[in-house]
């Protein structure tokens, strides 16, 4: 008798994309019968900053390095926090107010490690993943220099 190899989806996917983020599709992607929780973090573009109207944001990405850093974060989600599956998606290019700029979606056996994993992922992303945000206002544009 030859044992069939178990078919199992890759536990981790990361992406940098210009397209809008389909959160429902990501939730379906990570949902796992062995997990009792699916958690999502979605970052969205605000329409104002310090009283000025934000028209849009332009994200610039060092793609090869960003994907590598996102995979490092994802490996921690799976290895350290026990996520069954995890997806991290970040936009590149133009993102309008109200749209999602980043989504972190994961499934874990229990909720507590899921919440901890989400917070770890977004805080590490904001600190170490080479992505830069330029805010476009009615009277000009400016690179964001602090985490925000």
């Amino acid at each position: 008798v030859i044992a069939m190899p178990e078919l199992r989806a890759e536990p981790l996917r990361v992406a940098i994309q210009p397209d809008r983020i389909d959160l429902e599709a990501l939730v379906r992607e990570v949902t796992d019968p062995a997990a009792g929780a699916v958690l999502t973090f979605v970052g969205t573009v605000r329409d104002h900053k310090n009283g000025r109207r934000v028209l849009r944001i332009e994200y610039e990405v060092y793609e090869a390095m960003a994907l590598q850093e996102l995979r490092r974060i994802g490996a921690e989600l799976v290895g350290r926090f026990g996520a069954r599956r995890a997806v991290i998606v970040h936009r590149v290019g133009r993102v309008d107010p109200g749209e999602s700029s980043v989504a972190i979606v994961l499934s874990t056996p229990h909720r507590a490690e899921g919440f901890a994993a989400l917070r770890f992922a977004i805080e590490t992303l904001k600190k170490d993943v080479p992505i830069w945000k330029k805010e476009n206002f009615e009277d000009g544009e400016v690179w964001v220099q602090e985490g925000s």
Binding site: Y62, Q68, H90, V129, P130, W132, W143, Q145, G147
Partner: protein
């Protein structure tokens, strides 16, 4: 020896290009390459103290040695999310 240099975000705006080739002494460290870049692009000076560096897509310290063909990236403070 020659290395490739990549600029991102405000650093790219300051130098006006995303990529350049740079001749550095054999065995030079990242710091030395940055000093040479500052001569060519004085507009980078105000950003220098806040820059982080990557060589071939890995974060490195400013004292890290370079090899011919390395890809050095100048990374202003990131602001993803």
């Amino acid at each position: 020896m020659q290395i490739e240099v990549l600029f991102f975000g405000p650093a790219r705006d300051a130098v006006g290009t995303a990529r350049t080739l740079l001749e550095v002494p054999d065995g030079a460290a990242v710091n030395r390459a940055v000093e040479l870049l500052l001569v060519r692009h004085p507009a980078l000076a105000p950003a220098r103290s806040s820059l982080r560096y990557a060589v071939n897509e890995d974060f490195v310290e400013a004292g890290a040695p370079l090899r011919a063909g390395d890809r050095l990236a100048l990374l202003p403070p990131v602001s993803g999310g």
